[in-house]
């Protein structure tokens, strides 16, 4: 880990544009949502699902893509990106750069989601519904683990040159989600090839999907009648694969006036 890179990643938050987005995230979004909720009748399970709008995987993903993406290797916009040619002329291992950016990004996402959750809780308390958003140990652990994973995924995507990264990500999303959903809507009888085509396509897309996005939820591991190891192994291996790909890609990238 490189202290300079981590500090620099945090300093990036102080840019006016990023600060505004941060305020939107941490203050405006919770206020708007709570204002809306205060007009709704209080229904207990709605509030449980509402927790996902506060610290669920979706929010963690949005935070990671908003605050971390431009900080890795995407130097297309010089105003936003970093001058990697100058950075890599310094005595820095590129894998240290990736790991430092990943961990700094992880800390940033946890900080953003954590602050947002505190604001949500405070606002709910003010309208007398504080008891309806409980943040327990499992939630905190889920935030930490999913932030670790999504920032590693962001590090991987943005370690590629920007266009290739975008194409790769869009392609993976298409092949893992959109294409198989469309394909599943076609009845067996309409396919020219009869047999297990649906199953084959679904197996491939399922495999791709598990590499593309696999947020972990620790909830089932408490009081479960059967412990399943696959999600844990999938999570750990995805983490390692993302970082490994990011390191390999960055090691092979050229950074001389080509960024």
């Amino acid at each position: 880990m490189n202290k300079a890179i981590i500090m620099h990643s945090f300093l990036r938050l102080a840019r006016p544009g990023t600060l505004m987005t941060l305020v939107m995230f941490v203050l405006v979004y919770p206020t708007a949502l709570i204002a809306f909720i205060s007009r709704l009748p209080s229904v207990s399970f709605d509030f449980e699902a509402f927790a996902n709008l506060v610290f669920g995987p979706m929010m963690i993903n949005v935070a990671a893509f908003t605050f971390v993406s431009s900080s890795i290797g995407n130097t297309k916009s010089l105003d936003d990106g970093e001058y990697l040619a100058l950075l890599f002329s310094r005595p820095i291992f590129r894998w240290v750069y990736v790991v430092s950016k990943w961990l700094a990004g992880f800390a940033l996402v946890v900080l953003v989601i954590g602050s947002q959750t505190i604001v949500f809780k405070t606002l709910l308390q003010l309208i007398g519904r504080g008891d309806q958003l409980s943040v327990g140990f499992i939630d905190v652990a889920n935030i930490i683990l999913n932030s670790l994973q999504i920032t590693a995924l962001v590090a991987m995507i943005f370690a590629f040159p920007s266009r290739i990264g975008a194409m790769l990500f869009a392609g993976l999303l298409y092949l893992s989600f959109a294409a198989p959903m469309m394909f599943n809507a076609i009845p067996d009888s309409a396919l020219w090839f009869h047999g297990d085509l649906h199953n084959i396509v679904n197996s491939i897309s399922g495999c791709l999907r598990s590499f593309t996005y696999a947020p972990i939820d620790l909830d089932p591991y408490f009081n479960s009648i059967q412990i399943l190891w696959l999600p844990i192994i999938t999570f750990a291996s995805n983490l390692a694969i993302y970082i490994w790909i990011a390191v390999v890609v960055l090691n092979n990238r050229e950074f001389f006036y080509t960024n």
Partner: protein, 312 residues
């Protein structure tokens, strides 16, 4: 100089861009740069100078051939630790405050934290930036100031090997003379410097050797300081009364310097080292002749540049 061990060794270096439509940017480059040498890369636009510098910095991967710096790969951490780089494009983090940016590079260059404030202040002063500039946002700096900032970040790493890509582009005359002074100082400190510049007069004044690159190939390497192999003309002019020709030739002979010609109060000598020039001057001052001017008759780089381009 050729007897010295080469500090930078480039052997059969080639670099090709593109996956499907290949473009050869460098072809079979062989070059040795010695420790303490100031080396210039000159050539027309698109000749491959920048690519060569990118390869030397380890930021571009050679398609063939090898580059060794201090007998190590360019990507060795120990090589990077002694390298400083001033890029042509000053696309620094525009949102940062100058001092923070320099502190960041001080840390990246693995310099001790205890000296950070002192080093940053000194770097700013060395490149002629006022301390109040340190408090400004980088986006508020002029082009010339950005160039100076580029030099300042290079200085922070206290490098032994400096790569300067168009160091004076966008600089005012004061900035240009500052770069020249810095380069002379580095030469005295024994730093190895590789400059990529279009300002031939600048290169001519500071470089020991230059390589003419065109179309990805080194066309020629020219010595700009005298050596045993490449003698250089040293011209002395006297004020009246002029010393007579015999006296001039005798002093030259005493100092083992070949006198080429003597006429109208001036003489041309062929030197094989720079110390010969200072010895000669000392001798003429010793016999009370009044020296008006003394200088090397520099090779005209513009002429060499034209000649190299014409021989393609």
């Amino acid at each position: 100089m050729s007897q010295q061990t080469a500090f930078i060794q480039i052997n059969n270096l080639s670099k090709t861009y593109g996956l499907f439509f290949k473009f050869r940017a460098l072809t079979d480059i062989n070059l040795n740069i010695h420790k303490g040498e100031t080396f210039g890369l000159i050539g027309p636009n698109g000749a491959g100078k920048t690519t060569l510098m990118g390869c030397l910095l380890g930021l571009l991967k050679p398609s063939a051939g090898t580059i060794l710096i201090d007998n190590k790969s360019v990507n060795e951490i120990s090589v990077k630790a002694l390298t400083g780089f001033m890029p042509e494009r000053s696309n620094f983090d525009a949102w940062m405050i100058v001092e923070n940016f320099l502190h960041y590079h001080h840390m990246l260059a693995r310099q001790p934290e205890s000296t950070a404030n002192e080093d940053v202040t000194k770097a700013l002063a060395d490149v002629g930036l006022e301390p109040e500039v340190g408090k400004r946002l980088i986006r508020k700096l002029s082009r010339g100031m950005l160039q100076r900032l580029g030099l300042a970040q290079l200085l922070l790493g206290k490098p032994d090997l400096c790569f300067l890509d168009e160091p004076t582009s966008g600089m005012d005359p004061l900035g240009m003379s500052l770069v020249r002074e810095l380069l002379f100082r580095w030469k005295q400190e024994g730093k190895t410097v590789v400059i990529n510049s279009h300002h031939l007069d600048q290169v001519e004044k500071v470089c020991d050797r230059v390589a003419f690159i065109d179309n990805g190939k080194i066309r020629s390497i020219e010595e700009l300081v005298p050596t045993a192999q490449t003698k250089q003309i040293f011209v002395i002019q006297w004020a009246k009364p002029y010393p007579n020709e015999d006296l001039v030739r005798k002093v030259a002979q005493d100092n083992q310097v070949e006198c080429q010609s003597v006429s109208d109060g001036s003489a041309r000598f062929l030197l094989t080292s720079k110390t010969q020039g200072s010895n000669l001057l000392r001798a003429f001052v010793g016999i009370n002749t009044q020296i008006e001017q003394a200088s090397y008759e520099h090779k005209d780089l513009v002429e060499l540049f034209r000649r190299n381009n014409a021989t393609q």
